[in-house]
């Protein structure tokens, strides 16, 4: 269902005054929402403050959303990437997939990775564009290859990663090309794909570079 279809459906069901433009948000009835293809869960990794804290203590789901309106409500109420403390992570994963290699859905996949070395001013915008491309399903037109998206806040910069469910080169190359567009990268910039199966190796190299 496209955005036009949802809006048309809303206009049919809700009576709106003839004076102003008819949009979903012009009325007071927010029951009708723009549904997303799947449910998404926002996760947050809290930086360790106490040495006794384990990974399972630090990685926690924040909330889930299934519509565009719910997504915006969350985005308006959580800190933007530039406000996050060092060693924080944001994860947005489909359904109930955990943002871990061990999860069944991730085990045979990998991730497209790009690091913004310097702290750019538009880091918040890039993260938002990545989220919108993922939840809007425009980054993955063929099939639901995308499992989730991750942002790591580190001293060296911000790391963007797009987690996929497989290592199949053909669909991944298309996804990678769109990922570069979303991140506003030029031909001189390169993104790398790392399979999760090689993640435990000491010096694992990317299987695809774009």
């Amino acid at each position: 269902m496209s955005v036009e279809e949802v809006t048309q459906k809303f206009e049919e069901t809700v009576s709106v005054d003839d004076e102003g433009p008819k949009t979903v948000l012009s009325g007071t009835n927010f029951d009708v929402k723009h549904p997303l293809n799947t449910k998404w869960t926002l996760w947050y990794t809290k930086p360790a403050v106490d040495p006794s804290e384990s990974w399972s203590d630090l990685l926690r789901p924040v909330t889930s959303f299934q519509s565009v309106e719910e997504f915006w409500a969350i985005m308006q109420n959580i800190p933007e990437p530039h406000d996050l403390p060092m060693k924080s992570d944001y994860h947005a994963f489909r359904n109930d997939i955990r943002p871990e290699w061990e999860d069944e859905a991730n085990a045979k996949g990998g991730k497209w990775s790009y690091q913004v070395r310097f702290k750019k001013n538009d880091i918040d915008e890039l993260w938002l564009r990545t989220l919108l491309a993922v939840i809007g399903e425009t980054i993955d037109e063929e099939d639901a290859q995308i499992n989730g998206v991750v942002l790591n806040v580190r001293k060296s910069g911000y790391k963007f990663a797009l987690w996929t469910k497989s290592e199949d080169k053909e669909p991944l190359v298309n996804i990678g090309a769109r990922f570069k567009q979303v991140l506003k990268l030029t031909d001189a910039d390169h993104i790398e794909f790392f399979p999760h199966s090689a993640a435990n190796e000491k010096h694992h190299s990317p299987s695809i570079t774009l």
Binding site: S2, V3, V62, I78, T138
Partner: protein, 156 residues
């Protein structure tokens, strides 16, 4: 499949702030607390590691340290004679300087020094010092006749 482009989703962004479906204030408070803890730790770290000034100098990573030697003060008079001015003793303590002057001005008593012979030099082939030979002269020499006379005297 529901698809939305980035532009479409941006159009659907509400102008007013919506209420989230989770305790957002609590979430922001956690992040705020972590940021404060990190800032505090950074301050503590900076206070204890102020650059490299607090570190002891390594003995093997650098060359020899530069040591500034003070040049001896030499004054030249009108005749062209140079006089070396030695370092004054003390650091402005006048009382100490006076005591030092007194001990220096006291004449040293003439004493007869007894010098013991150096056995090492005597036994060696090396010629002993003439002064040593004088002092090495035995004070008592064995007189065989006197010894005989004394023995006879005892028998009597």
């Amino acid at each position: 499949m529901a698809r939305y482009t980035i532009e479409e989703l941006l159009q659907l962004k509400p102008s007013e702030t919506l209420t989230a479906n989770f305790p957002a204030e609590e979430f922001r408070a956690i992040i705020e607390k972590v940021s404060q803890v990190q800032a505090l730790r950074e301050e503590e770290f900076a206070a204890h590691h102020v650059g490299h000034f607090n570190r002891r100098r390594s003995s093997h990573h650098h060359g020899k340290p530069k040591i500034k030697h003070t040049k001896p003060k030499v004054t030249t008079d009108s005749d062209g004679w140079c006089t070396f001015e030695g370092k004054k003793k003390g650091s402005g303590d006048e009382e100490e300087e006076e005591i030092f002057k007194e001990t220096v001005s006291t004449p040293i008593a003439q004493e007869t020094l007894k010098i013991k012979p150096n056995n090492k030099n005597i036994s060696s082939s090396r010629p002993a010092d003439t002064t040593d030979l004088v002092t090495d002269k035995p004070t008592l020499s064995f007189n065989a006749f006197a010894a005989l006379e004394s023995d006879e005297g005892e028998e009597e």
